[in-house]
Amino acid sequence: MPSEDSHSLNFLPQFTTREAPLSLNKSSGKNLRTENPTANFVLRSSPKLGTTPPPPSRQLHLTPSASKITDTRISICSVDRMTQGAVAVAPGLSSFLKSLKTTPADPSVEHFISLLKRRQIRNSRPCAIATTALMLRVVGEFKGRDAAKLMERIRQVGRRLTAAQPREVVVGNIVRRVLGLVREVLDENVGGDTNGGFDTGRNTPTQPHDSMTRPTLASSISTFSPLKHAAVEPMDASLHQSDMSESGELPKRPGLLTSHTSYAPASAAPLVNSLFGLFSQPTDTPSNASTPTGYTSPEGKSAHSLNLERLADLSKSQPNLDLRAEVMDGIKELQDELEQSDEQIASVALEHIHSNEIILTHTASTTVQKFLLSAARKRKFTVVHAETYPHDNTATHGILLTGRKREGHVHDEEDQWKPLTSVGIPVYVIPDSHVFAIMSRVNKVILATHTVLANGGLVAAAGAHMIAKAAKEHQTPVVVLSGVYKLSPVYPFDIDELIEYGDAGSVVPYDDGEFVDKVDVENPLYDYVPADLVDLYITNLGGHAPSYLYRIVADHYRSEDITL
């Protein structure tokens, strides 16, 4: 018992100051295998990118700015437990998930951050899966009964994750969803004695030092949203202070802690995959159940301090409330949602594809492939596939030949599906330049997306904008498929901040030194597609007009959580 206590006492300082020794894994060379797509020519030529690790304490303050060059800063203080294992896998989602089983939360956060920074986990779905798993771990290891502290902890992790890779907006989305879960659990348990505005004011504030170091991207694009009517910003400093003291009172409640630790295993061993998980394993409820229904009440902002007291009361007055378990259940439902969103989107395919259509799509998106496959069971149509050179062309050709992506998949065994061509759908691969030429024959454009923004616009693989625009010029409907998890409460005020630039070497190989020296080669990875070019969104909740998306955003994110 004392060991656990000391652990939980160490807890707070550990993640604020970060002096905890990290097992630097410099010996394993593959950590340094920087498959970093954003390396510019300049940076690529500098020989030893990863050999001088920044001191770990700077991790918290690392602020990737919007400029594409800073992204290439690589921190190698990753804790790659995987490398100690026998299997030498390239670091990625699967290795992360594996290591997550055996690694405590904090090193896992570091690990994930390093993977994000090196783009070893990229794209929305792997990021979402990894973030959810990590959140489960973080919540599972959280020792304490204080909801405010739990939220602060989640928030803290979320801030660091989004700072590590601001353009993977999905990471922030998942963190916000988890925060929403905590609030939901609290709301349910507080029950009838709360008015509608209970949860809205309980905004665990950001820590003072963080306002200084918050990354520019996050600050400028997410500080405003029509969904939060001045809910967050007016939080005054006094409130911060009071709350800080509140959350600093951890030692005052040893009784609760000890009673709680009876749940926990006797060491820092994983909680998630231990026996504990057996009891909290959720029945496979459809993910719709996990989406909260209509928490938008912006009224009742006055009761901040009152609510904070209530929150503290809650932890004391309801000792049998297992906050952590409930939140973990919620996160598992979120995981189910992630898993099922493709199937749910695909299930409406027949409503959108009629016979003999010619459908244009691009990139190797599993969502789109499953959608089309589901339609192919009943209908005959033709697919025109733009190959998205140079980023995604290999994956595109691969998915058309074999029916699955080569990388980025967790469940490689179960997730196998047939290529479209094997179910009798003719697929025509065209280079990207042919989009306009072929558009006059196309009935429908189906786009995959990277992120959907609250204004109905989307960030998708480069080339999406010209495809959508060409479709608009030909009055061809554009359908965007996206799981709700990609839907972000972020408003795109500066679009360029959302656009990631990739490895210029895939445009012009580095062997061509003369060319590379003299010409600026640019390789944007994403396009922003404005909402007016999109006709329909299909999410796992159904089809929506782009103008309606703000409503779904409001359903899924609490307005207080929009700023992490």
């Binding site: 074999t402 080569r406 290529p419 061509t421 990207d432 030429a437 640019e522 944007p524």
Partner: protein, 503 residues
């Protein structure tokens, strides 16, 4: 670049290498006198034999459709060694198969050419693709070798044809000029046969095989068509009484003049005018590579105007890379994008300069595929889109979309070697049911090469690679067309076309 071509050209004169496979007598009759043989063959057939021939053809076709396997010649070849007509018949079968989607449009001089085996395979592959989009455009496979070229084809034309098919000579104007220069060589070495006059004989009997050969290497460009029309016109107008030497000299001079007037001088006028449109601080966006755009940019740079250039490029030729290199070597600030990044590129640009393959009479621009995308996005950003085009590239043709008329490129070109190599690791994941082509290759070869990737694609029944070379840009995206006659709106193209052809 042209060395390999020259090498091959050196082997050219003994063109009918194919003939070596045939019994000597037939080979001789075939090779020395192709047209009469062709014309005479049907006459020699008795009705019964004709019927037989047709049946054989039909069977061949059926067999090909069913099996999708070997070309019919292989089954039919051996037993029919006797008799000229049967030899003919075996040769005609594959040809018919190839050109079936279109009315046969091979000229007699060409139809005596048996297609080599790899060509037949290619034809089959294209045949698979005939269908949805450009089915009407698949005619005959592009010729990549001199094998089977008619012996009438001049060596200069032979080498030029290979340069066309390998994209060594590429671009509407360059192809036209190269063709005219080759024709000069053809005319120089031309001897009017006794009994005919140069005006009557040259065009129909000597020039047209050359043109046909060039067409078989790559479809003629609009400008080439215009130039050929003009050349035929000139030849017809030659007074039959003119001595041959003089007539030839006149012709050569006319061709030189044409190149000088319609290309060299026109280019100078256009670039002088267009260079004035580049102002200090401009960011000029251009797509792929056009010689006239390059000249314009260099001229403006020489004049000391400070500006930068954005080059948008695309697969598979990456012509923009050459342009970028040239401009950068001259000290111009160049940025380079692929077409997928074009929506980012147009944000920073202030003007768009485009080259043309042709300007159509409805004001639309027929140019390298992707041009329409660039001009669409530029137009939506309110950037001026300026097309630089010599009037020799104007045509009276009209088109509304890019599908009715286009040039289909071989589908294999879609995947470069490195891309194919990148796909090799997928081998283990290939669906086992895919095709017989797969089954054939898998057990035999343990090591997979890049060519296997193509086989996978060829082998899978529903996967097609599609590539065309041009697209049509709507007139409303184009703000100005600069020609040697001055700058005009796209709607004035037909007027200028009339002016330039009726002088």
């Amino acid at each position: 670049m042209s060395e390999p071509v020259v090498d091959e050209a050196a082997q050219a004169p003994p063109a009918p290498t194919e003939a070596a496979n045939k019994p000597p007598a037939q080979a001789k009759s075939d090779a020395t006198n192709p047209k009469p043989a062709e014309a005479g063959a049907p006459k020699k057939l008795s009705p019964a034999e004709l019927k037989k021939q047709k049946q054989a053809e039909k069977q061949a076709r059926r067999a090909q459709q069913k099996a999708g396997g070997e070309p019919p010649t292989q089954q039919k070849g051996p037993p029919q060694k006797d008799g000229q007509k049967q030899q003919k018949d075996s040769k005609q079968a594959p040809k018919d198969d190839k050109s079936r989607p279109l009315p046969v449009r091979r000229r007699p001089s060409q139809s005596s050419v048996p297609a080599p085996k790899d060509l037949k395979k290619e034809a089959k592959k294209d045949w698979k693709q005939v269908g949805l989009f450009f089915g009407h455009l698949y005619s005959q496979p592009r010729q990549h070798s001199m094998v089977g070229a008619s012996k009438d084809v001049h060596p200069a034309v032979l080498s030029l044809g290979l340069q066309y098919s390998s994209y060594t000579v590429c671009g509407s104007t360059a192809r036209m000029v190269a063709m005219l220069l080759a024709f000069k060589a053809v005319i120089e070495s031309y001897q009017t046969p006794v009994g005919t006059s140069l005006a009557r004989h040259l065009t129909s009997h000597h020039l047209s095989p050359q043109i046909d050969y060039l067409r078989s290497c790559r479809p003629l460009s609009i400008s080439m068509g215009n130039a050929i029309r003009w050349l035929k016109d000139i030849i017809i107008k030659i007074d039959p009484s003119t001595p041959e030497a003089e007539a030839k000299r006149e012709l050569l001079e006319e061709i030189d003049m044409f190149i000088r007037e319609r290309v060299t001088a026109a280019d100078k006028l256009i670039r002088d005018l267009a260079a004035t449109k580049i102002e200090p601080g401009d960011v000029i966006l251009t797509y792929a590579s056009s010689s006239i755009v390059e000249q314009t940019i260099l001229q403006a740079h020489k004049a000391g105007v400070p500006f930068s250039v954005i080059i948008v490029d695309s697969k598979p030729l990456f012509e923009g890379k050459q342009l970028a290199r040239k401009l950068a070597n001259r000290g111009i600030n160049v940025r380079y994008y692929f077409i997928t990044g074009v929506s980012h590129a147009v944000k920073d640009a202030t003007k768009v300069f485009l080259g043309a393959h042709a300007m159509m009479s409805n004001g639309r621009l027929y140019s390298r595929v992707g041009t329409a995308l660039v001009s669409m996005l530029a137009n939506s950003h309110s950037l001026p889109v300026i097309v630089l085009c010599e009037s020799v590239k104007f045509t009276e043709k009209v088109a509304l979309d890019s599908i009715v008329g286009n040039e289909v490129a071989p589908a294999e070109e879609l995947l470069s070697e490195s891309e194919r190599a990148a796909l090799i690791p997928l081998k283990s994941q290939l669906p086992q049911t895919s095709s017989k082509a797969d089954d054939k290759t898998n057990p035999e070869e343990t090591k997979t090469g890049t060519s296997d990737v193509l086989k996978w694609i060829e082998g899978s029944d529903n996967l097609h690679h599609l590539q065309v070379l041009y697209d049509v840009t709507p007139a409303q995206y184009i703000n100005m067309v600069i020609t040697e006659y001055g700058s005009l709106p796209p709607s004035s193209v037909p007027v200028v076309h009339r002016l330039s052809t009726n002088t």
